[in-house]
Structures are given as C-alpha cells and as structure tokens.
C-alpha cells in the first residue's frame, strides 16, 4: 500500500470513529425534537421539530435550580480537592524520604476502588454524620473519592520538576511554604488546570452518589436530576433526551472554551501513565 492510500484509509477510519461518537448525540437530538410523550426511534429527523421540548424540559426538571445546585456542589468539591491534592502531591514527590515512599501506595490502592463498591458503607456513614439529604452528602465523599487519582496526578507532575529549582529557591532564602506557593504552584498551573477540568467533569456528571445519598432532586447535581424525568411523569423519552442535552450543554461549552487544556490533560495522562 502506498503512502497516499494509507493516509486515505487513516482518514476514512477517523471519519468512521467520529460518526460512531457523534451518532448517539444526533440520535438524542432528533429524539428530543419529537412530540412529547411519543416514542421516537431516534433515527429520523422529526417532520415537525418540537423546539419547545427544551423549554419544557428546563421547566419540568427545574433546571434553573439544578444549575445552581450543581454549581454549588462543583464549587464545594473542586477547589478543595485540588488544593489538598496539590499539597499532598508535592509532599509525596518532594518531601518524602525513601522510608515513607510506601505511603504513596496507599493512594494508588485507592485507585483500584470502584465508587459502586463503597456506596453502601458510605450511605451509613453519611447517615451517621447526619448529613443525609444535604449537599454535603455529595461534596464530602466526592472529595475523598477523588483523592487517589488527584494525588497521583499531582505527584506525577511534581516528580518531573527538577530538584535544582527547589534547591535554588532554598538558597534564595525561601521556606518550604514560600517555595510551594511562589515556585511550585505557578509551575504546576497546567497540571492544576487539567485536574480542575477533570474533576469538574466528573462532579458535574456524578449520578450514583446524588441519587443514593440525596432524596431532593433540587439538591443534586444535574446528572443526578435525570431521575426526575422518570417516575413522576412516566418516562417521557423526548423530554428525557432534551433534558440530557441541556445537562450536557455546560460541559460542552466548557470544552469549547478550554479545548487545548482538555487535550493537554488527556495527553498528560497518556504520557505519564
């Protein structure tokens, strides 16, 4: 096969992959425009697109409230997680002597733990703390559950910062605290940005935890609120689809704004493994 043919094949494969990725969205989009209460197959463009479905979904699910709730949860989770993970990552990468290297393994072990496995004990724990049905029932466990990955992520970054910089800062008269805030954190900005984006995504799309730990849909995350379309009004497929698209919207907008950082975040993971 010559180079031209090979590049053509590569392109064809990419187009195919893109189609496979986009198809569910397009399908959802067409279904969202079908008349409310019908059962569209999601394969054809409706003859009479019901744009009003988006408005209805927004109202039915009380999206305004949900947006606020989601934002509150994200604000409660992401900055705190990133701060703790940055400090812990720095500590594990730069301040830990060989004798205590194993501490890091504790975090790595946490990576193997699926959310689903801890959800039941978590329920009892949150109940014992008296936090059931408050947003803290989502915020506090999420911070904890994100730690293994976040610490792993930040540690990987700090390991790559040359020790010379630390030493230069020390000789310039910096305390550890100075060095951390004035040298390490500014240098870690790309890693911190990536981590923030990932944690935002995971929090925004968090479904299981809110559904189990918080009964009031208006105190959940947006994804958790999807449940509102079930049960109460039966499953209204077009509204469900319209709602899902609305929930996706903020992440997509964010993606468009931070495209480069997103890609960098994923690449970073790929390289550092």
């Amino acid at each position: 096969m010559n180079a031209a043919a090979r590049s053509l094949l590569a392109r064809a494969l990419i187009v195919l992959l893109m189609a496979v990725t986009l198809l569910p969205f397009l399908s959802m989009f067409s279904a969202a425009l079908a008349p409310s209460g019908t059962y569209p197959n999601g394969l054809e463009w409706p003859s009479d697109p019901q744009w009003i479905n988006f408005v209805k979904a927004f109202e039915v699910a009380n999206m305004g409230e949900l947006l606020k709730s989601s934002a509150l949860i994200v604000l409660g989770v992401v900055p705190v997680s990133v701060l703790i993970a940055t400090m812990a990552g720095y500590g594990l990468a730069k301040l830990t002597s060989n004798r205590y290297k194993w501490l890091y393994l504790v975090f790595v072990a946490g990576l193997t733990l699926p959310f689903e496995a801890v959800i039941t004990p978590l329920y009892y724990e949150v109940r014992a703390l008296g936090l059931l049905n408050t947003r803290f029932a989502i915020i506090l466990p999420l911070i904890g559950l994100y730690m293994p990955f976040s610490v792993y992520w930040m540690r990987a970054h700090f390991l790559n910062v040359p020790n010379d910089l630390t030493e230069a800062a020390q000789l310039d008269g910096a305390t550890r605290w100075d060095e951390f805030w004035k040298v390490q954190v500014p240098l870690a900005r790309p890693a911190i940005m990536s981590l923030m984006i990932l944690l935002f995504l995971w929090t925004w799309n968090q479904f299981l935890l809110p559904v189990v730990l918080v009964r009031d849909p208006l105190q959940r995350t947006m994804a958790g609120a999807l449940g509102a379309f079930q049960g109460q009004w039966g499953t209204d497929v077009p509204l469900l689809c319209a709602g899902s698209l609305l929930i996706l919207a903020p992440t997509i907008i964010l993606f468009l704004i931070f495209q480069r950082q997103f890609v960098a975040a994923l690449m970073q993971g790929a390289v550092k493994g």
């Binding site: 010379d164 000789l171 008269g173 910096a174 500014p186 240098l187």
Partner: protein
C-alpha cells in the same frame, strides 16, 4: 564576608562513603576550584557546604559559625547550578529579584539592586524576558545575577560553564575572574576541566575518589604534583609516565634506567630510595626538545597548531609518549626522532604513587 573551614568532612550514601574525610581552609576572598574526574565527589562536597546535603560526619564553619545544622537559606551562600535552575515562570527581573523579594527588601531598593546587577552583567535589555527566551550564555548570566544580587558571603558554582560552547566558555571564564576581583567575595567553583581550574583559581583542590589529593596554587600543582594522579590530571596534554628502575643511588644524585630510557642521571638528592627500586618517571610533553640525544623513537602522529607541534612518538618498548615541540617543526610521521629533556623537568614517583 567570610572564609570557610572544613574539618574531616565525610559523606556516605548508605554503605558507600563518597567523601572520605576532607580538611580544608579557605580564606576570605579566595577563588577556590575543586577539580577532579566525574564522580569524585566535587558536587557532593559543594552541596554540603551549601547545606543542600546532610553531612555524615565532620564540621563546616562559615566565618566563625558552625553551620552543620544551619538551613541552606540561612547560610549566606549563593549557588549557580549547572542547569542554571532559573524559575521558568518568572521574568529575568523577577528571577534576579526573587531572593530580595523573599527577604522583604523595599521595592525601590530592590529595583535599584536588580538594575545594578543587570548593568554589571550587561543584560539590561533582557530583564523583561522569560528564561525560555534566552540563549545558554544569557541564562548563565541571569543565574550569576541571581547569585550576586544578594551580596552573599560565599559564592558556589557547580560546573557553571559546562553547558556552553567553547568560545562562550572562554568569555564567561574571564568574566567570572573579573567579577571575583570586583566583588571581593569568596568563591568556590567546581569543574572537571583542569584548564578552567588553572585559569580561574587562586587555590586548586584536586579530588579523586572522595579524597583530597593536593591543595595548592595552579603553578604549585603544575610544578610539583604531589602524586601520580595530580601529575596526570593537571596539564595538557597529559604528563608522560615511564617505568624506570634505580640503577644507582648516591647522596646527591640518582641514576635511573628503563625499557624505553637509557641510563639517566638526576643530579639531585632524593631520599628513601635504593638500588633496584621500581619508580615512575614523569615528563611533561612540553619538557621535550627535538635532539640527537635523549629518548629515541619513531614519530607516529603529528598535529601542527602553528605555534607548537604536537607529536606522538612510539618508543622502542612499544609505549607511546607525547611531545609538544615549540614552533613549526618539520617532523613527519615515520621519522626517527630523539627527544631531549632537562633533568630539572623530571618528576619521580615512588611505588605508592607519591612524589619523591
């Protein structure tokens, strides 16, 4: 402003001792160069002085203060790293001013000092740039600027020129010499390059295997190397070594002979040797002149540098020696050649390698 003293300094990594008891006194204002092959412990020693590395045993004094337990940031030393270690996110201005900022120096004073340093190092036009936008030589300047802006008691340099190209290295070497005179500061400089050591140092400390081999001025080391290691390390091309045996030893002269060397009389008293002792005779390549007498051999290789001619000569026992002949010699490879030398230029080393 301060001198420095090391007393029986040792360093071990696990069971491996890499610095094996170093004693050294450095007076205020001296330019001291630690020189030795890669891995001999130069950086480790320097980093112990800086406070970046724990001391396994021994005492370090800066001025009159025992600094064993003093943090690096409180030792009053500044260091220039081989990698420069500039803060990549800060402009040159902020890089140079970082220490002053940490010390909460008044903003106007700070600005004045930074600009003064930039002027001294001729990098005023670089102040707004980030390190990534600088060439190697410019980064080097910034790294030096960052050190001098704090006006430290002691400057430490760890192979600061090894990432620069040859021409720039010569320039920076002169600039460092000039800075040393201007600043009147104590400087300790680490290098594996004996030419840097010879050109910069007031005092050279030759290290090998974590042990100080010799301390002295460049010419002391060149003229009277304490042992085979120093003799081979200082000077370029390397000193030639010939195995010899003592044929006769009298009170005020000694006669030696070897497989490549006819009987040679050295008219000076040498203590502690006897007939049949096996010694090493050292001759610098520059000690030779082409002549009918002396060491005979065949020219293997000729390098013509214009002001001098470097020849490699194969001797009758199959070993090679290097000779640097003054001026433009017309020797050709394959020629037979005789290399004469003055007996005063002969170095003799005993079985243990120590100078006799």
């Amino acid at each position: 402003m301060a001198g420095l003293e090391l007393r029986d300094i040792r360093k071990s990594y696990g069971n491996v001792e890499v610095i094996k008891g170093v004693d050294l006194a450095i007076s205020h204002g001296e330019f001291v160069v630690f020189v030795g092959p890669s891995g001999c412990g130069k950086s480790t020693l320097l980093r112990m002085i800086a406070g970046l590395e724990d001391i396994t045993a021994g005492d370090i004094f800066i001025g009159d203060t025992l600094v064993n337990d003093v943090e690096a940031r409180d030792r009053g030393v500044a260091m220039v790293f081989q990698s420069y270690a500039l803060y990549p996110h800060m402009s040159v201005y902020d890089n140079v001013g970082f220490a002053l900022k940490l010390a909460k120096t008044d903003k106007e004073v700070r600005d004045k000092k930074i600009r003064e340093v930039a002027r001294v190092l001729q990098m005023e036009e670089l102040l707004e740039r980030k390190p990534a936008q600088l060439s190697g030589g410019q980064r080097q300047r910034v790294a030096i600027g960052r050190a001098i802006v704090r006006d430290p008691d002691v400057f430490l340099f760890d192979e600061p020129l090894s990432n620069l190209d040859a021409a720039l290295r010569v320039d920076m070497r002169m600039e460092l010499s000039r800075l040393h005179q201007d600043l009147d500061a104590t400087m300790i400089y680490v290098t594996h390059d004996q030419i840097e050591a010879m050109t910069l140092a007031d005092k050279i400390v030759v290290l090998d295997g974590g042990i100080v081999q010799q301390v002295g001025s460049p010419l002391e080391l060149y003229n009277r190397p304490a042992n085979l290691f120093v003799a081979g390390f200082i000077g370029s091309p390397k000193m030639n070594f010939l195995p010899v045996e003592v044929a006769a030893a009298a009170n005020d002269s000694v006669i030696v002979a070897g497989s490549a060397l006819d009987s040679t009389e050295l008219a000076r008293p040498i203590a502690g040797i006897a007939r049949a002792d096996k010694l090493t005779l050292g001759l610098r390549p520059q000690a030779f002149v082409a002549s009918k007498a002396g060491i005979r051999g065949k020219v293997e290789l000729v390098e013509r540098l214009g002001h001098e001619t470097i020849v490699r000569v194969r001797l009758k026992d199959g070993s090679d020696i290097m000779a640097v002949l003054q001026g433009q010699s017309d020797v050709m490879p394959g020629d037979a050649i005789g290399l004469g030398f003055d007996h005063k230029d002969v170095h003799l080393f005993g079985k243990d390698g120590a100078r006799l």
